[in-house]
């Protein structure tokens, strides 16, 4: 039992550390988004492993929150970065890929 305990936490901790390395080094914002997302998933997995090994269901609701938080966080940052493409004269909609945006606004960037 102790072996399983150490193995599981060791692997989870290693994964979390590597995700932190990418979070610190990642050259762009999106790299950090991906790293944060993965880190939160690893945290959720760690909470579940603790709940399972200790047979302690107290943490399970926290798990629901963490897993939803990962989704909401990465989607909102992705929308923020994508929003840099939004045409300022438009109605605030996603301008789409460059060529489509060019057609919609009459080809003048």
């Amino acid at each position: 039992m102790t072996v399983v305990y150490w193995l599981a936490y060791g692997m989870l901790g290693g994964g979390a550390l590597l995700a932190l390395v990418r979070l610190a080094r990642g050259p762009s914002l999106l790299d950090r988004v991906v790293a944060t997302d993965t880190l939160l998933v690893i945290i959720a997995a760690g909470l579940a492993v603790h709940a399972a090994l200790a047979r302690d269901p107290t943490l399970v609701p926290v798990l629901v929150v963490v897993s939803l938080l990962a989704f909401v966080g990465s989607v909102s940052v992705a929308r923020y970065v994508g929003g840099m493409l939004v045409d300022p004269r438009g109605d605030g909609q996603d301008a789409g890929p460059p060529e489509a945006a060019g057609q919609r606004t009459g080809g003048t960037p």
Binding site: M11, L18, A19, A52, S67, A78, P98, P109
Partner: protein, 131 residues
């Protein structure tokens, strides 16, 4: 409802496999060259790893309440992981966070940016644009 040693062994195997997938995800995040490939590494523990850990937890916990909640977490993950992956990778592709030199085929063939187009967050190691 008494857990036999077999159920326990299955649960522990699931937990260990899930943890191993989380470790490889971190490894992939560090080793892979660009955002899209790192995205692949990131979605893998979200799907298979979390599923395995949740199965292990559900076997170990056995209380109906927590079992259902773990099931819910797994379903949420499987519904939301593709959406966030799609949104992040779509933005990454349009922002050209992509190492084209490492790509065999690019059948979408996005046009190079026009001069003066608003460009936001570009990676420091962005591949040079053709043309």
């Amino acid at each position: 409802m008494n857990a036999g040693p077999l159920a326990d062994a299955v649960a522990l195997t699931c937990l260990l496999l899930g943890s191993l997938l989380c470790l490889t995800a971190g490894l992939g995040l560090v080793r892979f060259p660009d955002v899209l490939t790192r995205m692949h590494a990131g979605t893998k523990p979200q799907v298979l790893g979390v599923l395995l850990v949740m199965i292990g937890g559900a076997i170990r916990l056995q209380g109906w309440s927590s079992t259902w909640m773990l099931l819910l977490v797994a379903v949420f993950q499987m519904l939301t992981a593709p959406i966030s992956a799609h949104m992040v990778s779509r933005v990454a592709y349009r922002r050209r966070h992509v190492r084209r030199d490492l790509m065999v085929v690019d059948e979408l063939g996005m046009a190079p940016p026009r001069a003066g187009e608003a460009r936001g967050d570009e990676p420091a190691d962005a591949a040079p644009e053709p043309g």
